[in-house]
Amino acid sequence: MRFRVAVGNDHYRVEVKEPGMIVVNGRPYHVDLNKDSLLVNNRSYEISSLEEENGLPTLISVNQELYRLEIEEAEKLAVRRKIERLEEKEEGTIISPMSGQIISVEASEGERVNKDEVILILEAMKMESEVFSPKEGRIKEIRVAKGDMVNTGDVLAIIE
């Protein structure tokens, strides 16, 4: 099975020949993966997959250091690129950066806002976090009110 992997600006061509043999950029490695333990040519690493998307790991820890990967199955490359372009368009969605309570709403629907203008203030664990507008535009919708509890990833507002 072949993959293409990007880590920051670095790119890798990878082929998993069998569970015990992997080729990275043409170089073969003996590997032995046992739950959270990985041996690569007998070097021992503690690994963990922290995030996945469609069965493809996106955040890996190696000896507690984090790596953000973009893995693509070589066959499916073309399809993915199209989806990415679609996602980029909807950059006006403001998503909650953490779980917490809305302690203040600083803007209202219909209002015009600048990039980096404060829209809401969130509180969690005795700390306040301001949530900014990602771009200049008009607030189409604010989905929360003061006092609401929100979870990470909840849509808070939409800028158009």
Binding site: V24, V40, I47, L50, L59, E91, D116, M127
Partner: protein, 504 residues
């Protein structure tokens, strides 16, 4: 000895107090808010009573309810831990009124040390140096400006009843003064229910040095050496050690004597800490008294061998101190790293969540104090400290190496923590040489180095990712569970990027 003690606190300090009580054969009464039912300290206590909602005002600050539970459960004493009601004179008075022993100084002393301006005055009269500044609360912008001119800029604005960095502002230029006074006053009112402010001269490259003291109710008082708490972020301590790499025997004695003098001046009893600022020329200035057990008490415990929480409880019974100053010797070095659920890469934003995978370090010289366990969900409402890693070594080099090894063994998955930041601190040459000041983290740009995608094991990450992808494609059943949680993390990372912070 008390038969039963109520612990008016939560988290790791509640666990710490329960351990001391278990050794002393004292029954413990825990109190919990609605989000703390599954907390470790509730499990370890003998009895546990529901307090109220998650907001501190509904629960851990609910004095009447706590007193009521103490009385109905038959607790003879209340241990306040740190934070919440630990330094609240009203609560101490309420305990006294209800004939429940408060483990700490009495209400008169608490009032005296709680008012920072009053404490400064008493300390100055006792002949201990204080930072030059105002003797009364600032009444007008003009008064502030005059004082600032006399002291020379920069100056620091502080809340009279403050703590934890709130109400604190540094003023570099005179024209900033009015607006910063306004902000600080607002913060002081919101945080401490009193807008009173005062002004102090700003000390360059200061170190934060504090002295642990123990005092019985029979006028005996000793100090247990200093702690260097200079590694901070946003005025919050992050790493503490004893002895301080810049304090020699002579300075230690002078600091200790000053601390005892301060404590005597306020008629202090029980365990407490006298905080000083040490300038570049090793002049020290009194800042404040912390009238409670401190988070970082563990380092002093290790080098003195004295169980400070047990000592607190014994002193509260009226027992005399078991040691004199000459019995105290300091063995080796100890260092504590505060493990907070905060994301150092994202401006220390709190990172509550569920602990998925947890491994504490162990072995020689390694102590862990924690209230978390695998599967525990850290609530949103309280502070971010979830574990304290205290390490001992014969000398500072051994401590640093051992702490590094211990941090490398530490696994906490499911939340973001300060562990990587601590590793970065330990790796810093200046830290290893003991050359630190309160701005160490900013000055060394440590946060910038905490990058995701360190090149070192990048290829291993690639191999791991592809092997897991391969396994998933070939269909291993194990993976399915993980996906749900991962969405949560994805959202988090994404929002960072959206906020314009660097992409992780």
């Amino acid at each position: 000895m008390f038969k039963k003690i109520l612990i008016a606190n939560r988290g790791e300090i509640a666990v710490r107090i329960i351990r001391a009580c278990r050794e002393l054969g004292i029954q413990t009464v825990a109190v919990y808010s609605s989000v703390d039912r599954a907390s470790l300290y509730v499990k370890l206590a003998h009895e546990a009573y529901f307090l109220g909602g998650p907001q501190p005002k509904e629960s851990y600050l609910n004095m009447r309810k706590i007193i009521e539970i103490a009385k109905s459960s038959g607790a003879q004493a209340v241990h306040p831990g740190y934070g919440f009601l630990a330094e609240n004179p009203k609560f101490v008075k309420l305990c006294e009124k209800n004939r429940i022993k408060f483990v700490g100084p009495d209400s008169r002393t608490m009032e005296r040390v709680g008012n920072k301006l009053l404490a400064r005055k008493i300390v100055e009269e006792a002949g201990v140096p204080i930072i030059p500044g105002s003797k009364e609360p600032i009444k007008s912008n003009k008064e502030a400006r005059d004082l600032a001119r006399r002291l020379g800029l920069p100056i620091i604005i502080k809340a009279a009843y403050g703590g934890g960095g709130r109400g604190l502002r540094r003023v570099n230029r005179l024209k900033e003064l009015p607006s910063l006074l306004k902000v600080a006053r607002l913060e002081a009112r919101v945080s401490f229910d009193d807008p009173a402010l005062y002004i102090e001269k700003y000390i360059r490259n200061p170190r934060h040095i504090e002295v642990q003291i123990l005092a019985d109710e029979h006028n005996n008082m000793i100090h247990l050496g200093e702690r260097d708490c200079t590694i901070q972020r946003r005025y919050q301590k992050l790493l503490e050690e004893t002895p301080s790499p810049v304090v020699d025997e002579k300075l230690r004695n002078r600091l200790g004597e000053a601390a005892v003098k301060v404590a005597k001046a306020v008629e202090y009893t029980n365990a407490g800490t006298v905080e000083f600022i040490l300038d570049e020329r090793k002049n020290f200035y009194f800042i404040e008294i912390n009238a409670r057990i401190q988070v970082e008490h563990s380092v002093t415990e290790r080098v003195t061998g004295i169980d400070l929480v047990k000592a607190q409880i014994r002193l509260a019974t009226g027992e005399r101190l078991r040691f004199r100053q000459k019995d105290i010797s300091l063995d080796g070095c100890a260092m504590e790293c505060r493990i907070n659920v905060e994301d150092p890469l994202n401006d220390f934003a709190p990172s509550p969540g569920t602990i998925r995978n947890l491994r504490f370090p162990g072995g020689l010289g390694v102590r862990v104090d924690s209230s978390i366990y695998s599967g525990y969900t850290i609530p949103l409402y309280y502070d971010t400290l979830i574990a304290k890693l205290t390490v001992w070594g014969k000398d500072r080099e051994e401590v640093i190496r051992r702490m590094g090894a211990a941090l490398n063994e530490f696994i906490i998955e499911g939340v973001k923590t300060t562990v990587p930041l601590h590793k970065a601190i330990l790796c810093e040459r200046d830290f290893q040489r003991g050359k630190i000041s309160l701005s160490f983290i900013e000055r060394h740009r440590l946060l910038k180095r905490l990058k995701v995608n360190n090149r070192a094991s990048e290829k291993i990450a690639v191999i791991t990712g592809c092997l897991l992808a391969y396994q998933n494609r070939k269909g291993t059943p194990l993976k399915r569970e993980k996906k749900r949680e991962n969405l949560w993390r994805r959202g988090f990372a994404e929002s960072k990027w959206r906020r314009g912070l660097k992409k992780i």
